[in-house]
C-alpha cells in the first residue's frame, strides 16, 4: 500500500489539456508532463508554483510519479484515478471586477518602492531602476541588458512586437528572463483592456506568436498569459492590491519572487510595463 495520493489532490488548474502525458522534466517541487500535442501539464507539491495547467499534489514524492492521463472527467496519475467532479478547481481568471482601477493602479505603483530590498540583482527591474544596471557585469550580462533596454525603448515607441522579439529567449534561467517578462507583459495588457475598456486581443495574439518557440515549457507559460490565466502567486498579489497596500502584499510578493532565481521578478517586471506606459492604448 502506498499511503499517498488517494484523494489527495486539493485542486487542479482550470485549463488542463487532455491526453496521455509522459514525463518531460523533473525538479524537486515540479514534474512537467508533455502530451503528443506538446502541451505541458505539471504536477507540483508547492502551491507557490501553481497555475492553470498545474495539478497540486502535496503528499506525493514527485520523483515516483511516472505517468499522467487527463480525461474530461478524470485524471489518472500512475494507477490512481481522481474524479474531476470531486476536486476543487483553481480559478485562474482575474477580472478586476468591483475594483477602483485607479486606486488599484496607484497601489501597484507602490511596489517599486520594494524593488531595492526584495528584487534579485539580476532581474529585469533595471528597466525601472537604472542604478541596478551596475549588477550586470559579465559579457553576457551586459549584452543581455542592452537587448532588454532596447526592447523597452521599442515597446515604448510603439513597436511592441519589435520589442518583444528583442527580449524573447534571452537571459538566464530555464525559462529565460525575457520570456518570463513577456508572460507578465501579456497579463499587464489584460489590465489595460479592463482599465481603458479596450480590445487588445489581437495585440496579445501577436505577442504570443512572436514570443513562442520550440521550448514547450515556455510556450505553456506564455499560453496561460495570453489566455489571461493568472499564475497563482500573481493573482494573490492582485487580489490584495484590490483592497489596500499592506503587509500581506509584501509577503505575497516574496512568494512570487521565490519562483526561480529571477523568474518571479522578471514576470512582475513584465506585468508592470504595459500598465505603467499604457501599452496598446
Amino acid at each position: 500500500m502506498k499511503i499517498q495520493l488517494k484523494n489527495q489532490i486539493p485542486f487542479v488548474g482550470d485549463d488542463l489539456p487532455l491526453g496521455n502525458f509522459i514525463p518531460h522534466s523533473r525538479f524537486t517541487r515540479v514534474i512537467n508532463f508533455i502530451n503528443d500535442q506538446s502541451r505541458i501539464v505539471y504536477l507540483t507539491s508547492d502551491l507557490n508554483l501553481f497555475a492553470a495547467n498545474a495539478i497540486y499534489i502535496p503528499g506525493t514524492r514527485l520523483t515516483d510519479v511516472k505517468s499522467l492521463s487527463i480525461f474530461p472527467e478524470k485524471i489518472l496519475i500512475d494507477e490512481m484515478c481522481f474524479d474531476l467532479n470531486k476536486i476543487e478547481i483553481y480559478d485562474s481568471t482575474f477580472q478586476y471586477d468591483d475594483v477602483d482601477h485607479t486606486a488599484f493602479q496607484s497601489r501597484l505603483f507602490q511596489i517599486p518602492g520594494l524593488f531595492p530590498e526584495l528584487f534579485p540583482e539580476k532581474s529585469l527591474v533595471f528597466l525601472y531602476v537604472p542604478e541596478r544596471e551596475n549588477f550586470f557585469k559579465s559579457g553576457f550580462d551586459r549584452q543581455f541588458m542592452l537587448n532588454a533596454l532596447e526592447a523597452k525603448d521599442r515597446i515604448l515607441s510603439g513597436d511592441v512586437i519589435g520589442g518583444i522579439l528583442n527580449i524573447r529567449g534571452r537571459g538566464y534561467g530555464l525559462t529565460p528572463s525575457g520570456d518570463d517578462f513577456i508572460a507578465g507583459f501579456l497579463l499587464g495588457l489584460h489590465f489595460n483592456e479592463v482599465m481603458y475598456d479596450a480590445d487588445l486581443s489581437a495585440l496579445r495574439d501577436q505577442v504570443f506568436v512572436a514570443a513562442s518557440g520550440s521550448n514547450p515549457l515556455i510556450n505553456a507559460f506564455l499560453l496561460n498569459a495570453k489566455n489571461r490565466n493568472y499564475f497563482r502567486p500573481l493573482k494573490k498579489i492582485l487580489l490584495l492590491l484590490c483592497e489596500e497596500f499592506h503587509a500581506p502584499v509584501r509577503k505575497s510578493l516574496e512568494d512570487l519572487l521565490s519562483v526561480g532565481s529571477t523568474s518571479g521578478a522578471d514576470f512582475f517586471s513584465g506585468y508592470m510595463l504595459p500598465i505603467k506606459y499604457k501599452t496598446g492604448i
Binding site: 503528499g59 506525493t60 549584452q143 543581455f144 529567449g169
Partner: protein, 519 residues
Amino acid sequence: MIVKGLIKKGVYFDSVSLMIVSKELTKLEGIIDSSVIMGTKENREILNAAGLNLEIFDDASDSDILVGISAVDLAAADRAIRKVDLLFKELQHHEEKSAGQKVRSFEDAFRQLPGANLSLISIAGKYAAAEAMKALKMGLHVMIFSDNVTIAEELELKQFGRDHGLLVMGPDCGSAIINGIPLGFANVLPKGNIGIVAASGTGLQEVSSVIASNGAGISQAIGTGGRDVRKEIGGMMFIEALKALNGDPETQIIVMISKPPDPDVLKKIGNELKSFTKPVVSILLGGDPEILKQKNIFPARTLEEAGLFAAAVSKGQEIESIKKSLSERTAGISRQAEKLSHGLKGKYLRGLFSGGTLCDEAQLVMKDSVGFVYSNGPLNADFRLTDLWKSKENSIIDLGEDEFTQGRPHPMIDYTLRTKRILEEVSDPDVAVILLDVVLGYGSHPDPCAELVPVILKAKGISPRTLFIGSLTGTEADPQNRRKVISELEKAGMIIMPSNVAASELSGQIIRKISSTKN
C-alpha cells in the same frame, strides 16, 4: 584568451542552479567570464556579442543548456569544463541534504521535503490538534504521538481525515510502521504480507514482534490511538485503516488489535468486515473472542495468540496446531510454577509495566488464576489503588499512565521510576513475584540491561527469594537485540518467558499455588 564550451542535452536545471554554476565557474582560477544559459537562438546571439559563442552551439535547441567559458589559457578552460558536471552534481546533493536541515515551522519542513506525505506530531497536547489540522490541510497523513488532545478535537481531525482520504493515527498513538518506516515506538520487523490495525501501541508491538519471531512479516502497521474505538469517535480511523489494508495488494492477512470497542463501533467494524475476503485475525483484548464470528475471521484470546495465528495463516499453516501447542505450554507453565513456588516467603505479585496494553493483558491472565488485582487501571473498579505510589496485595501498575509520566519521559525510555519502585516492592516481605515487561525497539531505552540488571541484583540482596519474571517485546533485529537482552537479564536471575501472556501465566500460577499451600 581562449573560449571553450559544452552543450548539455536532455537535462534540466532550474534557474537558480544555472546561475550558481555560472558564478562558481567564474570564480575558478584563470577564468575570465562564463555563462550557463538555455540555448535559445537569442541567447546564442548574446553569447556571440559577448565573445562567448562557439560553433558547436549552432546545433543547440531552446531546451539545451549552453556552458560558455572564456579563460586565460586552454588549461584553465579545460579545468572549468571538467568542473561543470561536478558543480551540477554538488547542487543536487546540496538540495537533497538541505531537506534534513533544521526548520523553524511546519511550512519550512514541508518546503524542505515537498514529497512528504505523513507528519508525525509529538508536541504538547494543547498545540497538537492545530498542527495536525494544518498537516491534514496540506494533504498529509498524520500520526499524533501527543496525548492530552480533547475528544472533540480528535473527532474533528478524524472527520476531516476521513473526508479527504487521509489517515489520522492518534492522538496518543505510540506505534506505527508505514511503508516500512517505524514511527514512534516500533520494532525492526521483516517485510511481509500481514497488515495490522491497532488501537493499542504496545499491543501492536507485541503482536508484530511475535509475528517476526515466527518467521512472518509486516506490510503495514497502522495505529489509531486507543480512543478511536470509543463511541464518540465511532471507530472512524480503525475502519478506514481496515479498508486501506483490504485494498492493499501487499497485505494478504489483516490483524486487528483493540480493547473491546464500544458495542455500536464493534457492530460497524463487523459490518465492514463482511465484505472482506482476506483472512482477519482479531484480538479484542478482554472481549468475547467469538463476537465477530465469521468464516474469514480468526478470533484470538491474547496478543501472542493473535501474532501466532497471523504468522500461521501467512505461512499457510493450520491454527489448530497453534492452539494445541499453547495449551500444552500452559500445562508446562503450571508444572514450572509448582517447582518455583516452593520455598518462596511472600505471597503477592507486583507487576510493574511500561506498556499499557501489556498491563491490561497481564491483569486479564491474572483474573483466571488469582482473580482481580489492584491497579491504577483495574479491570474491576473496586480494585483501583487509592494510593498509586503504594501497592496493595496483588497489584499490577501501568507506569506509562499520565499520573506517572507528567514531567518525565515514558517508562519505556526512562527506567528511573520503575527501578525505584522495584526496590520499594521487594522491601515488602509479602512480595513473592515481581512481574515486568521490557519493550525494545526504536524509541525505547537503548540499553535496558544497564538499568535493570543492577537493580535486580540489588533487589536480590534485599530479598533473595523474590522471583523476577518477565518477557521481552521486540526482535533480534532491534537496536537493543532481543537475544542479548534476554541473556543478560537471565544472568541476573530474571526468568524470561516467551511472551507477556506466558510471563503472566507463570506469575499467576505461582501466586495461586502459594496461596493454596498457605490456605
